[in-house]
Symmetry: C2
Subunit: 277 residues, 2 copies
């Protein structure tokens, strides 16, 4: 990785004074760039609108520094001020961030196959990538009678219980798998598999069959069938799934459908036929 | 606006040496935050992948400074390095930018109505907002037999010739309208209206009828019918359109369809019934 250990315009971050943020053991120098990124980090799905005071508290920076930083970000368009004087993420940041190849770019390529899955099943079609130890949903389309799901586009979830996440974990480097298996299990329902040795077998089964079937693992009324999407270098770069009503559908009938969709998306990404088969 | 004139960690931007970027008349101080934002700006739909050298050239910063800045942005996840050592926009930036209320948030609220428009017409449904003197497309869905359009999600276009853009301009502050009318016309086809006094009349007609019909203004085979979307404060915050094959459909038959969709989206946004009618 680039520039390891290089700090630009480093300053100290004062310890948070509110108790809402765990104070660092000692003050560490933080670059100006990092401060700006911390302002952006303060915006979350649960807190998409933030006051200047809240941003100062979150970043641990003095109010005057935060004021200046937020002013710069707002003038550029990374933030927008609403009528009440609070801040939100700006449209210009969204425009540039939409160039992320694993975000909107992937979604645009996969949209025809996802639409077909929804059209044919009337259920949910999902597309996701792995980011660290989480699955990030790049797209979710829902048919009229689709089973309710917890998924949010651009939202994160645990890898193991979701179909797409289990596929992504099965093809992840062994050290990532070990890290997930060593961590606390993501128990969502009474049916969620949490035993590490059983989970290890399930991951091996995904690699053997090229498909993951997760029944009642996230919600008690849903079943997810997922398959890997390959990139041009033959590695698994994403996963696609159908999430349907558990009990109402035989999961194995969804397998060929999801596999065909995954192959179609892989081809759109430029995967070699050999790696897709 | 906040923090006007405040510059943090100001330094000088060297004039570009490649001739690809117009050199500033004199060197102006640029804050570290602004430098980081300039790195992000270097990524465009035409150049979504950038080498370190290209980033240094684009930002006008020395290679060592760019190296350090890019390293920080990569470690945080605003950029990602690909196999060949080039950089792309990172998934983490996309995750946070997806919180922009005028981006993905608006798209999620409008998705049912857009899907309905595509389902009923078999053509394109578009959702857009105004950013300065441009229209930015927040979503585009296309039916199986849809007319080809130039639209790209998160892409920009001129306001006047597009249906959604003309609606947004008609309800924009007068000074924005005058700025567009005073500028060079966006001529896309031989049919594009470019006469300022005629354009002024067309904008007045949009306000009178609550709908814009743009026939063969962007491409010779398309017609766009658009209507305004209202926000909770009664102001126009977006526009929705159907873009169909010109000649194959009577535009006036699309008007009620688009208006019903616009009203539905306005209600989802919390608009008062009075402002929607």
């Amino acid at each position: 990785m680039l520039g390891t250990g290089a700090a630009s315009g480093a300053g100290a971050v004062p310890a948070a004074t509110t108790g809402k943020r765990s104070a660092p053991a000692r003050e560490v120098p933080v670059s100006v760039t990092m401060r700006a990124l911390r302002v952006l980090e303060a915006f979350t799905p649960d807190a998409p609108v933030r006051t200047l005071t809240a941003l100062a508290r979150h970043t641990g920076l003095p109010l005057t520094t935060t004021h200046r930083l937020v002013g710069e970000l707002t003038r550029w368009g990374a933030l927008e001020r609403d009528g009440g004087g609070s801040y939100r993420i700006g449209l210009r940041l969204w425009e540039i961030a939409s160039l992320a190849p694993r975000g909107l770019g992937l979604r645009e390529l996969a949209l025809p196959q996802l639409s077909d899955l929804v059209h044919v099943t009337g259920e949910n079609a999902q597309l996701a990538v792995r980011e660290g130890l989480s699955v990030v949903f790049v797209e979710r389309l829902a048919g009229r009678g689709a089973v309710p799901v917890l998924t949010r586009v651009a939202g994160r979830f645990a890898l193991m219980p979701t179909g797409v996440g289990r596929v992504l974990l099965a093809y992840a480097p062994p050290e990532v798998q070990e890290q997930v298996l060593a961590g606390p299990p993501a128990r969502c329902t009474e049916a969620t598999v949490c035993d590490p040795s059983l989970l290890r077998q399930l991951l091996a089964e995904v690699r053997r069959t090229g498909v993951a079937v997760c029944e009642r693992q996230v919600t008690l009324d849903s079943v997810s069938v997922a398959a890997p999407v390959y990139g041009p270098r033959g590695d698994v770069v994403a996963a696609v799934s159908v999430v349907a009503h558990a009990g109402a559908v035989q999961p194995h009938t969804l397998v060929p459908l999801v596999q065909v969709a995954a192959r179609g998306i892989s081809r759109s990404l430029g995967a070699e036929p050999a790696s897709v088969s």
